[in-house]
Symmetry: D2
Subunit: 273 residues, 4 copies
Amino acid sequence: MEKLKKKKYEALLEPLLHELSDAARWIAETGQRLVVVFEGRDTAGKGGSIHMFANTLNPRQCRVVALSAPSDRERGQWYFQRYAEHLPATGEIVLFDRSWYNRAGVERVMGFCTEREAKDFLKNVPAFEKLLVDEGILLYKYWLCCDQEKQEERFEDRLNNPLRRWKLSPVDLAAREKYDDYTRAREEMLMATHTSYAPWTLVDFNNQAIGRLTLLRDLLDKLPDTKLPIPDVEWPPLKTKPGHERFQALQPIEHYDYDQDVEERDRNEDEAD
Amino acid sequence: MEKLKKKKYEALLEPLLHELSDAARWIAETGQRLVVVFEGRDTAGKGGSIHMFANTLNPRQCRVVALSAPSDRERGQWYFQRYAEHLPATGEIVLFDRSWYNRAGVERVMGFCTEREAKDFLKNVPAFEKLLVDEGILLYKYWLCCDQEKQEERFEDRLNNPLRRWKLSPVDLAAREKYDDYTRAREEMLMATHTSYAPWTLVDFNNQAIGRLTLLRDLLDKLPDTKLPIPDVEWPPLKTKPGHERFQALQPIEHYDYDQDVEERDRNEDEAD
Amino acid sequence: MEKLKKKKYEALLEPLLHELSDAARWIAETGQRLVVVFEGRDTAGKGGSIHMFANTLNPRQCRVVALSAPSDRERGQWYFQRYAEHLPATGEIVLFDRSWYNRAGVERVMGFCTEREAKDFLKNVPAFEKLLVDEGILLYKYWLCCDQEKQEERFEDRLNNPLRRWKLSPVDLAAREKYDDYTRAREEMLMATHTSYAPWTLVDFNNQAIGRLTLLRDLLDKLPDTKLPIPDVEWPPLKTKPGHERFQALQPIEHYDYDQDVEERDRNEDEAD
Amino acid sequence: MEKLKKKKYEALLEPLLHELSDAARWIAETGQRLVVVFEGRDTAGKGGSIHMFANTLNPRQCRVVALSAPSDRERGQWYFQRYAEHLPATGEIVLFDRSWYNRAGVERVMGFCTEREAKDFLKNVPAFEKLLVDEGILLYKYWLCCDQEKQEERFEDRLNNPLRRWKLSPVDLAAREKYDDYTRAREEMLMATHTSYAPWTLVDFNNQAIGRLTLLRDLLDKLPDTKLPIPDVEWPPLKTKPGHERFQALQPIEHYDYDQDVEERDRNEDEAD
């Protein structure tokens, strides 16, 4: 697959973000509720896809739900309970960074649940999702794919790039050899939970930039026509001359003196030689 | 102020993000709890600053709290109650995109609370924050400043850029003429709540890129030495040849055909001429 | 129906409470989850039935859930969401004092929801309950019946007895003439939601004491054999002489001097003559 | 202390419950918020006192908060966080069956927290409570006392009465020999947290009936004049003849046939001889 230059990517992304922004306005104004589930291979690109949404939308409208492992008490609750708590109210968008499908993927492959629990989950999840959809919640489920070669490359990047090191969890390490088990678990999950009312969409994320564009284009196409006129806003000139900041109690701190900082770093590095 | 080129900004930001990433690891490993409060002028740059953190850190460690207006029942609760619910547990970071200080700013200036409630709030908030700090919570409060001229420019950008239009709330419109009232409210807030244990830091955001660098540098300087060795990870070669995605139940969708899309858009535009 | 003397009632109740207490121990020790839904006519006796449980059981094991009207935000959530939040974890008992069935009863009869919403609810509730039951939650639903004559008597008691006056809500007043509408709504509810996995049990509460005994006997019969041996506890004599309360910082207050209080009340009443 | 006959107790209690009922109406109508903290010796009578309130008041107005041990995550939160979540909104009453004071009592005496944490707690709690009281929350704290002889009697009753056996926790067993340690911990707690704005009240519960009357009388005396006229209610005769229950979908179950049940039990006992 051809590589997409950053400039071109940004040029392509921008009109899609405009459509996303329109869609969010439509959701708010018509009182929709949108749930987007992000699942997929480790390293596929869930986080980056979610930032694409979250960096564009109003954080008071669009929440990211990234739950940690359940507490002991939560483990003893109705399985869907801790997810249900975070479902959107009218006008809201919720992005699930992993979701109830944990049980069909990592929990099953890594043995964090029993095979029986995994089977029960697969049997029950369509009923749960039907309840949501029947009440009018818009529910879209994306599964992000990539080949193991790409996965290994990205794992190594996480290994070597301290900025991304947190993305390399102990579970990832243990799961590295289980690429095929994950494939099998995914296929079984799709067989059981790809329904007419809550279908899955698989997106190839071997190229993440193209993956993100593809996912977003697809989501926008799934929504009905969301074009609403942007309301006019009266915008009279200010009645007074624009004010300046005036400080009494406390002054702003000095700007970050980056030139000095860079110099100092260079000097330190010289000294270290 | 000189303009900071995007390239240079990114080069300057990167080492700071590395330090931030180290700090997050230190917070997780030593069981700290970090609260960062983002307050300031409308348009100053709270959202962008928060994305700088959220795009770098693990969403299971770092949460953004951006509360909507309280419900009637919440309005009748202990004022700090709905914020207290979101305080970090051990190892966590919480970024408040606006906070309990709403009462000293927008609520007061716009008359959403009584003058008496605002005064009571200012009297009580140091005690509330002392409770948090005395229990070892790291609490840093940033107020982002900008001149009204900049604010007007950015309001107009929001007015004209549909991508940012959601940032222009009806309250913003009503507040436009109240720049000086906000200044007065801020000064009174600083007098009442700039304490030794929970001091405010004012950051000039007339230039947002420089503002973000300044804020982040300052926060990192406030933290103790957070340098912990990155743990070694054993990384043996895969035992099998890397697998490829194989699909049975469902195929990935086609890549977004952006060339066609662009062509079509051009054609539509031509036709529209 | 013969009247049941208080003495006899208490003698009959006691062995049932022992069985209830055994059942609660079984629930705790075997990690069950029990949900009991109390629905029925206004005045039928839900509150008294619930106290029979709550006064017997450990409040850390057995919670009463009596939700108020939803907030605007809750009204925009998934209908079952605010109820799902309160479902029991392992070892717990939850008593719903009214429940999700509000929508099929008071909301429908009084027009607080649309007819469409009521129909949708009736269609969806079996799927919701099946999810709970399929996960092993024990779910029992009781509907408490009484004739309108009894209801009127009890309404009048509430009207005249200040201790019970809070039980007479404005909705009750408005609903008084709608006895038959409630009957119709109940029948439709039963047709739609009396399922093999979550059956309803109707209990005649024209006599409340007998109603409570009947309900409790029925619930106990529905549970499997819950008899577990009460664990032995070592109970050595105290090693020291039993201590007495000794107060330094603060003394207990004087006992309520009821004789004086009664005298005074009598005197006041005399004076009032 | 003289024993109070049940009849007399009930006659004495009733007028107090009327006052309590008036107070609850005043709280609802004037938008007060009431918190009552119940602490004290094991077996003193917290549960019974709380039932006296809960059995009288509207469960939608008056909640009992009886928290279980914190989860690991909760243990890492701000200490007051999980209690703050349950504070009353306008018009509500919350009864804390044990409370944040756990840390000064059982946690400290049994070594579930460090001595340092207990000291910090004692230092911080007045500030926390001042925040609540300054915002107008009515906060009353009761500590229920009894001599160890009584405590032993009641422990033995719990040991032998299966209905009350759940009240005998493993911690109780371990704490039996620590009566004097609890006394010391209480005295230190009182020294640190008996403040002008949130004073403690000690009530002697060697006789529980008298203890409950004393506690309730005292609480009522602490409230301002709560007498509001009970609103008149129009109560026209029904327009139609009172309806009878008519069942189609499902019939009520048979009344509990207690005579047969008693007979059977007797027979079983005979056979057992």
